[in-house]
């Protein structure tokens, strides 16, 4: 077992790569999800339909085929090379944006129209209403399930290994090969993912408790769904 300690730096570096990939995809997905949520709650029905189709499509298609398409298909179609990193970020972000849009929508809808009217009537300007009334309430509803979205991205980032990107899972498989088989490195992988994910879900649970004072929070599982 002492022999495997040689690989420790490699695992640490790969963990860093996985965290970087998943956070980047989450951030892009959050921005995208926010925009789609605005479309979803728009007054124009064609925009609402487009947003609905977008989220529904990404929730009934496996992310792995999106990943394959981004990595193998786009270069053939458009004639430029796509690195595994770019393909993975793109696919993860697309899926995250669909999940995130549902979370944000729930947040926006949780703030009733009456609140807007009351605040505007009290002489606040739009920006002030957004900042002091809507944002704090919506955030309370959005933040806890966002943790669930992140955990999904984190676990899904393991799929990048399939197209050859050297994140955590790929590294574990490589270490396994250099050791000539066995499944110790795979268990190490599982343990690292578990610590990352479970640690974050504990933070999420704490957030949920923190924000649970008055007002409804949506359940993480109900909004995010999916296995990864």
């Amino acid at each position: 077992m002492t022999g495997s300690l040689v690989f420790l730096p490699l695992f640490i570096k790969a963990t860093g790569t996985t965290i970087w990939l998943s956070w980047l995809a989450l951030l892009i997905g959050a921005v995208g999800g926010f925009l789609i949520a605005l479309l979803r709650t728009s007054r124009l029905w064609p925009l609402r339909v487009i947003a609905l189709l977008y989220t529904e499509a990404f929730r009934s298609v496996p992310i792995l085929i999106v990943l394959f398409f981004a990595y193998f298909g786009v270069p053939v179609m458009l004639g430029f090379d796509v690195s595994p990193f770019v393909a993975a970020t793109f696919a993860l972000a697309l899926h995250a944006s669909a999940n995130m849009s549902e979370v944000v929508r729930a947040g926006i809808e949780s703030v009733g129209r009456g609140q807007w009217e009351a605040a505007l009537a009290s002489g606040m300007r739009m920006r002030e209403v957004m900042r002091h009334i809507v944002a704090p309430q919506a955030l309370r509803v959005i933040l806890p399930p966002s943790v669930g979205v992140y955990i999904t991205v984190l676990k899904e980032s393991s799929l990048a290994s399939i197209i050859g990107y050297f994140e955590l899972t790929r590294t574990g498989l490589l270490v396994r090969e250099t050791q000539g088989g066995g499944f110790g490195p795979l268990l190490a992988l599982a343990a690292i993912y578990f610590l990352l994910s479970y640690g974050i879900s504990l933070c999420g649970a704490a957030l949920e408790r923190h924000y649970a004072i008055g007002g409804a929070t949506t359940s993480t599982d109900a909004v995010v769904g999916g296995m990864a």
Binding site: L159, I162, L173
Partner: protein, 224 residues
């Protein structure tokens, strides 16, 4: 930039697609059934009087929900030979998928059990029912009703998750897309076709769930 979308190019591979779709469906249905059994056992463990048993149940759920399915699949796929068991790709994928799905299933069933008021167990016991009679006539019908909708969502989640079986060489829809795409260089077409297959599978289940639900639960909900 002069790529033209021509579905005809993938026509020769459609025979393979049917087999692949069957594989996806078989894998998913079996995984749902197996995970239902494991999940029920874990959910019951979480209500045990013994702390160790409760902890083991909770640990199972957390481990499965916090590790990537792909890693679970690799562990099953590579670990079985290491301890002297030969598993086919299909069996390994089915086992990994079921074990992972059982983590989610256990939570669904647990929520269903929690929704049955304690008085139901008491009333049935007071009427002299055995455990088996109580389960069959009182508990199961009520639990089934609450878990019916989440069960449908879980079915869809498993279908999508079954795409990862391609990583351990199971020839289902995703691996069809990958191989046909690589052979024909028609990745756009294969992507669209595969996506349509998944969307159709998922939406069929959705519709079937609504329809069957309407037939099963016709009794009205309102009080007076």
């Amino acid at each position: 930039m002069n790529y033209t979308f021509t579905l005809r190019t993938v026509f020769p591979y459609l025979g393979g697609l049917v087999a692949a779709a069957e594989m996806t469906l078989t894998l998913s249905v079996l995984a749902i059934l197996i995970s239902l059994v494991i999940g029920a056992a874990v959910a019951v463990m979480r209500r045990s009087r013994l702390r160790v048993v409760r902890f083991a149940g909770a640990a199972y759920v957390e481990v499965m929900r916090n590790t990537p399915l792909l890693v679970t699949l690799y562990i099953v796929y590579f670990a079985a030979p290491a301890i002297g068991i030969r598993l086919s790709s299909f069996t390994a994928a089915l086992l990994g998928l079921s074990l992972n799905a059982a983590g989610y299933m256990a939570e669904i069933i647990r929520a269903g059990l929690i929704a049955v008021p304690g008085g139901q167990f008491e009333a049935a016991t007071a009427q002299g029912m055995t455990m088996g009679q109580m389960f069959r006539h009182i508990i199961f019908p009520q639990v089934f009703r609450t878990i019916y909708a989440p069960l449908g969502n879980q079915f869809i989640a498993v279908i999508l998750a079954s795409s990862l079986a391609s990583a351990v060489a199971v020839e289902e829809v995703t691996s069809w897309m990958e191989t046909v795409g690589a052979n024909s260089f028609r990745f756009f077409e294969t992507f669209v076709v595969a996506a349509v297959v998944y969307v159709v599978l998922c939406q069929t289940i959705n519709l079937a769930r609504l329809q069957i639900g309407r037939m099963l639960f016709r009794q009205p909900e309102a009080r007076r």
